[in-house]
Symmetry: C5
Subunit: 90 residues, 5 copies
């Protein structure tokens, strides 16, 4: 997984029927220190996350489908948790 | 998924028989603000998309096969939706 | 998939028995305009392609195995088509 | 796999039920010489690793699920071993 | 697959039981011309390769498991062949 921050949502009415009902979040990858890093990903929400939340971003379809409880879902990324705290250092 | 824009199509008459009938779209990844980012991907169309559309670009074979309703299709990317609106900020 | 150009071949007599008979092509990723981009990939040929051809490069093992008609093949990339034409713009 | 160093942990109480009990490690990829390289990954611990350990970082969901002995786990990375020694050169 | 060169080995006595007996090679990706490119990967040896060999580096877990003949192995990369010759140009 990657650390990410939810920065927006996307509306798409014309989409694969297998995506019906899915909430699509725009998630920006970030470093442990909170600095944006890498591209913006469109992830299906599996954690009731909202804009501004720091989240666990899962970047693989099989795993994302597992998070959603659907084996054959056409997804390749999912938000699977909301981060409470990041602890770094020894 | 990534946000993308359809920038062209590709014709390939000599190809895997399992790709017969598939429409191949050239899709450029873009940021939430609409700026091109990253490489151009060749994706199978699963959303009746056309050149100029802003789309949901799925980047995984298993998931792309699921979008097409074919488990064993030789695909690694699919366009699975057309974006109506992008909402960013808190 | 990515657009690519076949730039060479590789000979490897000591290899996994499950790769016996596979033709290994060196493929350079390219942009829609034909400019080389990204690394050189070693792909199994599933399209009777040769050096100099512009090809459809599939970059995923499950999908590449599907292209070859072998589910458990130890492959992560395959050439699945030869490009006749690229059409860009609206 | 990649070589990595554990640099922290993450607490997330609101997460996919399928992640319950999983210990989430922040792992920084590193070169054979110990220099940090690449982004920080959030990996599930499958090796009793702790902060400061040099580890084997597995970067694929199916494989990470296998390491945890769970086929359908929503994970895309796992720490599967602790490195004792790196031997380079001929 | 990628072209790579074996540059070292890694010893890890505390690791996933499913990796017992696996030989872990440090492999540096390289261009067709032999120039190092990209990060160092830790790959399971499925070709009796040694330090200094130019090899076929498979970068996907499902495929790497297939190379090892184990479906559920916690691996994401394998060395599946030793390169005898690289032929480039038309």
């Amino acid at each position: 997984m990657r650390l990410g921050r939810v920065v927006g949502t996307v509306v798409a009415t014309r989409k694969s029927a297998r995506l019906d009902g899915a909430k699509l979040l725009l998630v920006e990858a970030m470093t442990a220190g909170g600095v944006p890093s890498g591209p913006v990903t469109l992830a299906v929400d599996a954690a009731q996350a909202g804009v501004g939340d720091t989240v666990l971003l899962l970047l693989e379809g099989r795993a994302a489908g597992a998070a959603l409880g659907r084996r054959a879902a056409p997804v390749d990324a999912a938000v699977v948790g909301i981060v409470d705290a990041i602890e770094t250092g020894s």
